[in-house]
């Protein structure tokens, strides 16, 4: 029995080693996945799922964000600051909270995606945009919702926190 087992192990081992060698040699001749950035900058393909920058998609001039602040609480780094204001609905006369400014400090984001997962309205998502280098750290702090230039024309606006 011992002898039979010995040769069984031996030939089994050789067969599996050959399988391994076959696998690696196919990879050897496969097309390489390396992207020669920056030479191929114009044709660069980055996975859709790559987390480069947090964005808030705007559809018809509106975002889906309701300013609930769940993402702000979910963020472990204090990267997100949600500033809301209270708006009075002219028809019902009821005051309602809505998003004023959504501040994202790119410099302290660890791309953990907890904020995106936490958002109940899918208002934010990551894009593969990765060329984010700037010369000044302040430039990394950005407002994600569309910036409204003329604050004065909206009378009922008063920022709630801060």
């Amino acid at each position: 029995m011992g002898v039979i087992n010995y040769f069984k192990t031996l030939f089994g081992a050789i067969a599996t080693l050959l399988t391994g060698l076959k696998t690696t040699i196919t990879v050897f001749f496969r097309k390489k996945t390396t992207q020669c950035y920056p030479e191929n900058r114009s044709t660069l393909k980055i996975s859709e799922r790559f987390r480069g920058t947090l964005t808030m998609p705007v559809v018809d001039g509106k975002t889906k964000c309701i300013g609930c602040g769940i993402c702000q609480n979910a963020c472990p780094n204090g990267t997100i600051t949600v500033i809301t204001r209270s708006v009075v609905n002219p028809e019902t006369g009821k005051a309602k909270k809505e998003l004023d400014r959504y501040i994202y400090d790119h410099g302290s984001c660890t791309y953990c995606q907890l904020c995106v997962n936490a958002c109940p309205y899918d208002a934010i998502k990551f894009t593969p945009e990765f060329e984010c280098a700037v010369f000044n750290r302040n430039k990394l702090v950005m407002q994600l919702n569309p910036v409204v230039e003329t604050e004065e024309v909206k009378p009922n606006v008063e920022p709630e926190n801060k």
Binding site: T24, V27, K32
Partner: protein, 358 residues
């Protein structure tokens, strides 16, 4: 086919013509030393570059491609970086042995390097016991590894050195036995004799089954001898940082690095010489035209082509198989390779006695 001994004997007679024999000899020794060291360094650089490219390809990436076209100067840049690094000596280490160890490593590999037949008539040391000499001088590097581990006064180095001691001494046996098998077939131990004997077919084909088994045993044992993956547990990065050369820096680390790659080259060159005919072109008995065409390719090209092919195979092994545990390594040697090698030796003896080879 061009015979390099014409060049060497021409240099020799020219030198002897203008000066006494002892002076001519001295100059020749120095010349050979310089040439050998230069070739040694160049081969090491090419191997480092090749390893990084091959490793990259096996991992589906491109490897170095920034320094120079296709990154060919990457190894040179690394070498310059290594040369200007600081040499750090550890307090409480054995200073003398610590400095001695890299030199032992590099001396052993340069000496083994000198035994190789690079081409027709291009041979530094042609002993009648060439293989024996090569095996013994390359075995000296074990002393270097053990000394390095001991002198560093570091647990990791010590464990790495002990492991490599156990590993290299065990695999030395299989290496010797597989060589012995081929020596039996060749009937000589000198490299020139072995290469000449393969003029009508390489030993791998002439010796058929036992030669093939000896070839595989040699490749495994040789790979273990060079401390490269999957047998790289003397310097297993994940457990021992860098094993026996953890404490070395700068040029001294460079010596270990060079010696590792040159040992790879030597193991492959010996495999190419003993099994694949060395610088002997591919000759098939009966195909005269084909043989004549093959003879037009220079012998050096044949030698380096075969050697680099073997190096590629060893790199293929390295980047395919995971590292073995130390008990698995010893099991492989003592329970599998050694019995198979001994059996193979007997088989070869029978085949040689009854003339069953081609």
């Amino acid at each position: 086919m061009f015979d390099f001994s014409i060049v060497t004997s021409w240099i020799d007679s020219m030198l002897r013509g203008v000066m006494p024999a002892w002076a001519a000899l001295t100059i020749e020794y120095v010349l050979i030393g310089v040439v050998i060291l230069l070739v040694y360094a160049l081969i090491a650089l090419s191997l480092i570059y090749m390893e990084r490219k091959v490793c990259g390809a096996f991992q589906c990436r491109l490897g170095p491609n920034r320094v120079g076209p296709m990154g060919i100067f990457q190894a040179v840049a690394d070498m310059v970086k290594m040369l200007i690094k600081e040499l750090i000596y550890i307090r409480n280490s054995d200073k003398f042995l610590f400095k001695l160890a890299p030199f032992i490593m590099i001396t052993a590999s340069v000496m083994a390097f000198g035994c190789l037949p690079f081409g027709r008539g291009l041979h530094v040391l042609d002993f009648n016991i060439g293989i024996f000499l090569l095996l013994s001088v390359s075995a000296v590097s074990i002393v270097g590894v053990l000394l390095a581990g001991w002198a560093s006064n570091n647990k990791f180095s010590m464990i790495g050195a002990m492991r490599s001691g156990a590993q290299m001494i065990s695999y030395e046996l299989s290496l010797g036995i597989s060589m012995l098998t081929m020596v039996m077939l060749a009937g000589t131990m000198s490299f020139s004799g072995i290469v000449e004997a393969q003029a009508d077919g390489w030993f791998l084909f002439k010796g058929h089954i036992p030669a093939l088994i000896a070839f595989i045993v040699y490749l495994i044992a040789g790979n273990a001898e060079t401390n490269r993956g999957p047998f790289d547990l003397p310097e297993a990065e994940s457990e021992l940082t860098a094993g026996f050369h953890t404490e070395y820096s700068g040029l001294q680390f460079g010596f270990f690095y060079l010696a590792e790659y040159l040992n790879l080259f030597i193991v492959s060159a010996v495999a190419a010489t003993v099994f694949l005919g060395g610088w002997m072109p591919l000759h098939i008995p009966g195909w005269e035209g084909f043989n004549a065409v093959m003879d037009y390719i220079p012998s050096v090209v044949w030698f380096f082509g075969k050697t680099y092919l073997m190096i590629f195979v060893l790199m293929w092994f390295k980047w395919t198989f995971p590292r073995l545990r130390v008990d698995q390594i010893l099991t492989l040697e003592w329970k599998y390779l050694l019995p198979i090698g001994l059996f193979n030796l007997m088989l070869m003896a029978i085949i040689v006695i009854f003339g069953l080879h081609f």
